[in-house]
């Protein structure tokens, strides 16, 4: 048991535990908190793989900006404990089925792949900032710009929707 493996299992347990808690918590804020735990432990896993930049961005963007927005909206709307209607209870069964199917699918894919899956505990610049930016802004610049354009459109759309009625 190297220290890296121990850290990996602690972080993995945190991530899975957080994800389960996200589903089973009754209150939206508790669910959001669990999601933050998942995000941060994923960042820890990236750090373990030597992807420092991705780890930091994971926390800044997901753990920070997006989840703060979630929490903000939940607080602003003062959302209470979730209510279970008959339909939402009925949706549970196919949801569970789909979750099992997805898990099986991913597990089968990993089992069939010939590459070793020991990605954890590698040192060095697996995704150094320079390589990453070269990839995004040189090799994949058009998809990247298209994505930014999509986000811009979404921002404009939300402004149009939120705009007050013209008197």
């Amino acid at each position: 048991m190297t220290p890296e493996i121990v850290v990996f299992f602690v972080l993995a347990a945190l991530a899975v535990g957080g994800a389960l808690s996200l589903i089973f918590q009754k209150h939206p804020i508790h669910s959001a908190l669990s999601l933050i735990v998942v995000m941060v432990s994923l960042a820890g896993l990236y750090l373990l793989m030597g992807a420092e930049f991705v780890a930091a961005v994971q926390i800044i963007v997901y753990g920070g900006a997006i989840m703060v927005l979630f929490v903000f909206v939940i607080m602003l709307l003062n959302a209470g404990i979730e209510e279970h209607t008959n339909i939402s209870k009925m949706a549970g069964f196919p949801g569970l089925l789909l979750a099992f199917a997805l898990t099986g699918f991913i597990a089968a894919t990993i089992a069939r792949s010939t590459d070793s899956v020991q990605a954890a505990a590698q040192h060095g610049n697996m995704a150094s900032t320079r390589d990453l930016s070269t990839m995004i802004f040189r090799n994949f610049v058009y998809p990247f710009e298209l994505t930014s354009f999509l986000i811009l459109v979404a921002v404009l759309g939300s402004i149009v929707l939120a705009q007050r009625e013209k008197v």
């Binding site: 209150h27 804020i29 508790h30 908190l33 933050i36 941060v40 960042a43 420092e52 930049f53 780890a55 930091a56 961005v57 926390i59 800044i60 753990g63 920070g64 900006a65 703060v68 927005l69 929490v71 903000f72 607080m75 602003l76 003062n78 150094s128 900032t129």
Partner: protein
């Protein structure tokens, strides 16, 4: 036993460093409250704390004891888990951010357990310094927001809402304003960012000159991130009682307090490192007489403290102050006597002086500026600060493209 110590030297040294840094930061926090009260008092023609100990120097200890021994009621109807989590989160994240700061370029002049001991927790070659700091800052908002929400009371909720909105808005400007510095330095590593500001002309090499706009944006956004005056809307006492920590008493309140002061220290560290040359001296390296500034300064200050103590009214002051003064004088003389120590102390001395100046600016602003209105705050953040910091990025990258990096 010796083998074991040497084999785990790095771990042991790091743990001791963490404990020492925690102790120092918490003590500095305590005396920062004293400093703030004194400075604001003198700005308002008052004396400030002066009953507990000479010049009120033991006031922080008295405050700390008071916080520890006060009754700690938990209000009915709070969300218990989150209510207890929030102050812990705020304090832990604020203290973690200090760990990223390097306080000096060289390891200690002697090895401990076969290890080079650097000033600062992280080794100097960690590549994500500034990004890690931003990551911790990004999480820092949860302490305040969750405290506001979990208290289940209207004023804290309003405070928490305000703080989340404010932090989201100003974080953008904060991050954008640093990009100019990163472009100049070409790295995220704080140590390398400082080395990049080294020049033969001392102060002229610092980033503050090419990045003045960036510094303004950064400092304003950072003050807003730390919820200090004039951006202290989350705890505006004239409208929200005490904002997000209204329902917190005793040491849980103190934890928010310590978190706020610690983030002030972090921001001051960052300002000095990113824009004011970190531990570099403002004088050209060829002016060797400046090497005696810290020791002679300490010696003179120690003499003044002795003189002041001999004139103090109480017996306690007559004993304590000259004692403190002679310790300072002794340290000053030791620095003069041992050139190795004197050379080593240069870098931390300049960094700490710059940090002190920024802490003073924080207190100065609190004593001077009125609080912004909420809509002014939002308009300023989005319509002034963000465009200005983006313009700074555009100008800087254009200048680097046109003329190449300055150094």
């Amino acid at each position: 036993m010796k083998d074991f110590l040497y084999a785990h030297g790095w771990l042991i040294v790091t743990v001791v460093k963490v404990a020492l840094l925690l102790f120092i930061v918490l003590t500095v926090n305590a005396y920062l409250t004293w400093f703030e009260r004194k400075v604001v008092a003198h700005m308002q023609s008052r004396w400030g704390p002066h009953r507990v100990g000479p010049h009120g120097l033991l006031q922080p200890a008295a405050d700390g004891l008071k916080f520890l021994f006060k009754e700690d009621p938990t209000p009915a109807g709070v969300d218990r888990f989150v209510y207890y989590l929030a102050p812990l989160l705020a304090l832990a994240l604020a203290l973690t951010s200090i760990a990223i700061i390097p306080f000096g370029p060289d390891p200690l002049p002697w090895k401990i357990l076969g290890q080079d001991v650097y000033l600062g927790i992280l080794p100097p070659d960690v590549n994500i310094g500034i990004l890690a700091l931003f990551a911790i800052t990004a999480l820092g908002v949860y302490g305040v927001a969750l405290a506001g929400w979990s208290s289940n009371s209207k004023y804290p909720l309003l405070g928490g809402l305000r703080s989340s909105a404010q932090m989201i808005s100003y974080e953008l400007a904060l991050t954008m304003s640093v990009v100019g510095v990163l472009l100049l330095a070409g790295t995220f590593n704080l140590t390398e960012i400082i080395h990049n500001q080294q020049s033969n002309y001392g102060i002229l090499g610092w980033n503050i000159f090419p990045q003045f706009l960036g510094f303004l944006c950064f400092f304003i956004a950072a003050v807003a991130e730390t919820n200090r005056v004039p951006f202290d809307l989350p705890e505006a006492e004239s409208e929200l009682v005490a904002g997000f920590h209204t329902e917190y008493a005793s040491f849980k309140f103190a934890m928010f307090f310590i978190a706020e002061y610690t983030s002030m220290i972090t921001v001051s560290c960052l300002c000095s490192i990113l824009f004011f040359g970190g531990w570099l001296s403002p004088f050209p390296a060829s002016w060797t007489w400046t090497y005696y500034l810290p020791s002679v300064g300490l010696l003179l200050f120690g003499l003044w403290v002795i003189w002041d103590g001999l004139h103090y009214e109480t017996i306690f002051g007559k004993v304590i102050l000259p004692g403190l003064g002679s310790v300072m004088c002794l340290v000053g003389i030791a620095l003069l006597a041992f050139p190795v120590l004197n050379n080593f102390i240069q870098a931390p001395f300049w960094l700490l002086s710059k940090i002190f100046v920024f802490l003073f600016v924080y207190v100065w602003m609190r004593g001077t500026l009125p609080r912004l209105r909420y809509d002014q705050l939002m308009a300023f953040g989005w319509k002034m600060l963000l465009p200005a910091s983006i313009a700074n990025v555009v100008f800087t990258s254009f200048a680097i493209l046109k003329w190449g990096a300055i150094r």
